[in-house]
């Protein structure tokens, strides 16, 4: 204490308090929200004992048709989004990494734009696109998936390109020297080296898709295309039962489990968790 009084800037006790306080402030409300998913009563604000009724009961996540539908639709969109955005992003990253000269700079800027465009601008743009350019598609699942792919694509490119930079061109050049044609260099040398980054970006796309709200809401068409995020938005201030906390908890567990799995795969195969943390920082 005396040392601190003599030199309050040398010892970061004030910083410890601020940081500790921040971490509690940022996480405890969510922990409480998860806790109330297990409330025995109908309240989201008064604790009435522990129960699984909002998960397994008749109006719980696993039985209520509306909740179940939202959860299934969310996961369906996430799977589609991963299946489309990952290959698109990987090929774009490979191409952009090597493509020199005319057009490369423009494509690079356009690729980064979705990362910094306010989501509502993308939401309005895609809504008008599907209303006025592709009116035959209508709104709903297909436009939702397309919208999510459009803004998750850039994340894949950024992650994969980071890995491409760190593995360098030596392996590829060695393959070329040994007579491998370009497609063999990509398929048999570069892709296996990229595998950890591809898995990491697939997990990131999956998580982004599950958590996405704006684009998904703008392109929704009717109750069957409601996702967990949309349900949270629509009913957080209305119908108050802990079932809402329960469905948010289920989505959170799925997201975090996917990301942890990808993190460990990345750490195991790409050498060190620092690269994974760096990749997370990049975003």
């Amino acid at each position: 204490m005396r040392a601190w009084l003599r030199n309050p800037w040398g010892q970061p006790r004030a910083l410890v308090v601020v940081t500790g306080g921040y971490i509690l402030w940022s996480l405890v409300p969510v922990v409480i929200a998860i806790m109330f998913a297990f409330n025995a009563g109908r309240s989201r604000t008064t604790w009435q004992g522990f129960s699984f009724r909002w998960f397994t009961g008749p109006v719980g996540v696993f039985h209520d048709p509306a909740l179940q539908g939202a959860l299934k639709h969310t996961l369906f969109l996430a799977v589609i989004c991963v299946a489309v955005a990952t290959p698109l992003g990987v090929t774009l990253a490979l191409g952009l990494q090597r493509w020199r000269g005319h057009g490369a700079g423009t494509v690079n800027t356009v690729m980064l734009l979705p990362l910094v465009t306010p989501e509502i601008v993308m939401g309005v743009a895609l809504l008008l696109l599907f209303l006025k350019v592709f009116p035959g598609l209508g709104l709903g699942t297909v436009p939702q998936a397309i919208g999510q792919v459009t803004f998750t694509l850039s994340y894949v490119v950024v992650i994969v390109r980071g890995r491409l930079v760190s593995i360098g061109r030596e392996y590829e050049e060695a393959a070329a020297d040994l007579g491998a044609p370009p497609h063999d260099q990509i398929l048999r040398v570069v892709l296996p080296l990229l595998a950890p980054a591809i898995i990491a970006s697939a997990a990131v796309v999956f998580a982004l898709s599950i958590d996405d709200f704006v684009v998904t809401q703008y392109l929704a068409g009717g109750a069957s295309t409601t996702t967990v995020s949309m349900l949270l938005y629509a009913t957080a201030r209305g119908a108050p039962t802990p079932a809402l906390n329960a469905i948010a908890t289920v989505a959170l567990v799925i997201t975090l489990a996917t990301l942890s799995l990808a993190f460990f795969v990345y750490k195991r195969f790409a050498g060190g968790g620092d690269a994974a943390v760096a990749a997370a920082m990049e975003i």
Binding site: G10, S26, Q97, I120, N245
Partner: protein, 306 residues
Amino acid sequence: MRSRWTWKALSAPGVIWLSVFFLVAFYAVIAVAFGNEDTYSAPIPYWNPLDWNVGYMLDVLQDIWNRGQYFTVFVRTFEFVAIALGLSLLIGYPVAYYAARHVHGRWRGLVLLCLILPFWINYLMRMLAWINLLSPDGWATKFLHYTGIDQIFISLGLLANEGGWLDGQPVTVILALVYGYVPFLILPLYASLDRIDQRQIEAARDLGAGPFSAFRRVTLPLSMPGILAGCVLIALPMFGDYYTPDLVSASPKTNIIGNQIDQLTRQGSEKVTGAALTLVLSAAMLVLMIYYLRTTRSAGQEAAEA
């Protein structure tokens, strides 16, 4: 020569995708904003710039010029975002500083995990958590009442009545924005503080600077790019936000520009005016977007050269 084509061909699907669903989509906003409405007030886009009808855009710009409703909303948006940015920096900078400079060993991983976690918790779930806590019989409301903090807010004119945190209070919206976006500020701040060469600070200390002066004259200027990048990174989504005010206030008194656009385009049938307003917002954001892209690109080039 053939291999050069390989790379272009590999890029092609992604380039086509972004062209159609990003560039053409954005052009659709322009075509609608400079288009017209049919008798059922559905938008009719004018794709050819020679046909453009500037009437709707002029109405929006005139309203802003004459300090009409859109002007009020724009000013409110800037106020909310500016205050939220200031508070976010006040919270985020010390946290990032502490994590980057004073946490070592295995604690570092744990602290970083705690700082990254909010990133991957659904934004709406984080808002839901606060809606429950701040409802009239919620735990936070009770705590704030028990400690007398709500009385301080009431006497400062920031809160209308006890337990009324969620009935359209600007202070709740601003604090919710801070809560929502501060994790996204901390990570770039952390990255820039972590990159600072410790020896530069030691040199300042060796030359006689006190710890505070070393911070003010070495650490702070060196972390300035991170501060600016982080602020831009969270200002952009704040400007496009509509769900935070909807969820924690749901009152027209706290409408920001995102709410206005959302009401005109998604919920309402004035899509032409909504598109015009979207263009005005995009133009205002363009400077921030270009700044961010330029700084990240030059940082990327430095990393590639190193």
